[in-house]
Symmetry: C2
Subunit: 368 residues, 2 copies
């Protein structure tokens, strides 16, 4: 299998290990696992979850829900505030599968109530401190109104409170991740207890890879929706959430030019392959990826000086140490761990595993 | 035509005006126009260039060259250092069309010489100060060797010196753009004159939208390869290169939630639609787009307070002024000018014009 142009490699063993690690942890902690499939968007990778016992999933769009529903996934949460322009799609999908939707506004609950004619489970998006979307956990008045609206509906079934503690991505230590997670659970539990006289107790659903990878005690919640852990990436590594060895995807890029004085190589691999997501390394330098060395079909860490320092649409500039620079020739491939694997996978639209087999991605031409 | 999910709108009139403006300017200045098609990657938009008299184009990958070659474009420069892993594709394409390639290393010239068996025009990538790739203009020794190598080849035909003055993107005024452009032309002319005893004079090819939009005197060069001007974007606007009214693409995004206290709306429109390219606005705030108002199928400027301030994979957070916030309802569409139109178009993989017709993009499922 000769790689000719930028290609996203997937190490199936690392990926399956990541899936196993999370599945076992959540099983032990008695938390229902509803992994977010927006990271990989792949039927084939989804199948590895199925083999690990997963039957319920999370996605971030109805398009993604449709993709997985056509391949037998019948319990899907769309963890994105309901888009009222897609009500026909919601109605069609709710007839086929157990569909769970997210509501973040009273008006939307009202509109949904008047519109759906099949059972749909509803989660109320709750803002516990990330401040991206959702009703602030303190705004109990709005929660009361929405719950009343949903409870009055023949088809909407209230599942509980859903939150994304994405503020864990702004931390600098595991202690901070634990602190944010525990604060979120405490706030959600307080809110849930206000409605403890309901016949069905509200469930709590949380989702982010840093928390579910690093927090040891997950008691008090019902459902976990991490996604990124399936591949991990440099962002997670810099947060202290994974090791470099756990990162399961690397972009193989042809070297097209060398710059001797600067010890840089130019690769075919740019913003349309990696995305423009960047991170600051230890030296406060903006980087877009980190080089690994391929040895006998396995990639191994290279020194931390070897990084992707600039991106144009198709070009990448890779800074190398002297030794690596001298060993690389034009026409070789260079392998790079991405900063944000979700965005890189979305741009690359498919995977090549280390046995030379292609795996699907929703955005790919070779999709299932 | 009801828009249900994020959709890239194209104002054909603005786009054709941009094409006309550049075509007329270059014609008047007697500079050959070889527009870069990496921005739009569309056969249909390419056709508007053909109608304006353009027959030669630039692309940034062989995949893109193939796409346009199959639809009748027979004079294509791949303005990216030759990828030696794609030699079979180069050989096939050079039999079909007038193919012009870019060489940035002596070793690559040698390899190409031993490989091609059809005429291929070669440009030597010259670094005049952008420092992304190419041979530094001062390194006359390497230029002499490469020129000797190419001149010794039966199939490689030396066209001249090609440079991308991408450093114009780091300027803050038109004067600075002019200064950088003139310096580049002076350096290239000096280098060219060193080889004035060759039978065929070296040509000079330059490419960047800021220069070709803003510099008034383009004498001394043979070819211009700007691309972004076809749509322009917020980055060009902030450089002073275009007006907001000239930006020909806007992303239509459904409003899915409102945050009254913050005067923010949450849209379906995230990093997988816009890209993570950002820019600092006047208040040094990082923004990912700017809101326009749609009035009778034409978008008009909204105040500069109305901007896209945060992006997740699918979510966008839009900050609005009081009046606009009050006028927007959940379920409405909001229209946003992108920071970097090339990357946004590449992610959106197609266009919807204001008459409700879809236009192709190389990456799209509905491609030609």
């Amino acid at each position: 299998m000769e790689i000719k142009s930028p290609t996203l490699l997937l190490d199936e063993k690392k990926c399956r290990n990541n899936i196993r690690m999370m599945t076992e942890k959540l099983k032990k902690q008695k938390v229902r696992f509803r992994p977010h499939f927006k990271t990989h968007q792949s039927i084939q990778i989804g199948h590895w979850f199925k083999e690990a016992g997963v039957n319920s999933i999370t996605v971030s769009s109805l398009k993604m829900a449709d993709y997985f529903a056509t391949k037998g996934w019948d319990d899907i949460t769309v963890a994105f505030p309901v888009n009222l322009r897609e009500t026909e799609r919601i109605k069609a999908l709710s007839k086929q599968i157990n569909l769970e939707l997210v509501v973040a506004d009273l008006g939307v609950a009202t509109r949904l109530n008047s519109m759906v004619n099949n059972p749909v489970n509803i989660w109320i998006k709750t803002d516990t401190g990330y401040h991206r979307s959702g009703i602030p956990v303190e705004d109990t008045n709005t929660f009361e109104k929405i719950i009343k609206e949903i409870d009055s509906s023949p088809n909407l079934k209230l599942k509980g409170l859903l939150s994304h503690t994405g503020n864990t991505y702004h931390t600098t230590s595991v202690l901070q991740i634990e602190k944010l997670y525990n604060e979120a659970v405490k706030k959600l539990t307080g809110l849930k207890n206000r409605f403890s006289d309901r016949q069905t107790k509200l469930q709590l659903s949380l989702g982010d890879t840093p928390s579910f990878t690093r927090v040891s005690d997950l008691s008090g919640i019902n459902e976990a929706r991490p996604g990124n852990f399936v591949f991990f990436d440099l962002m997670q590594y810099h947060l202290g959430v994974c090791s470099l060895d756990q990162i399961a995807v690397a972009l193989a890029c042809p070297v097209v030019s060398k710059k001797k004085k600067e010890k840089q190589v130019i690769i075919h691999g740019g913003a349309v392959h990696f995305s423009k997501e960047s991170i600051l390394d230890k030296n406060h330098r903006k980087i877009y990826g980190r080089v690994v060395k391929m040895e006998e079909d396995l990639w191994k860490n290279a020194g931390e000086e070897n990084v992707l320092t600039a991106l144009s649409q198709e070009h990448g500039t890779v800074q190398l140490d002297n030794k690596l620079y001298e060993s690389v020739n034009i026409g070789d491939l260079i392998y790079i761990l991405p900063v944000h694997s979700c965005l890189t996978a979305n741009l690359m639209k498919g995977y090549l595993n280390l046995n030379g087999e292609y795996l699907d991605h929703l955005e790919g031409v070779f999709s299932y």
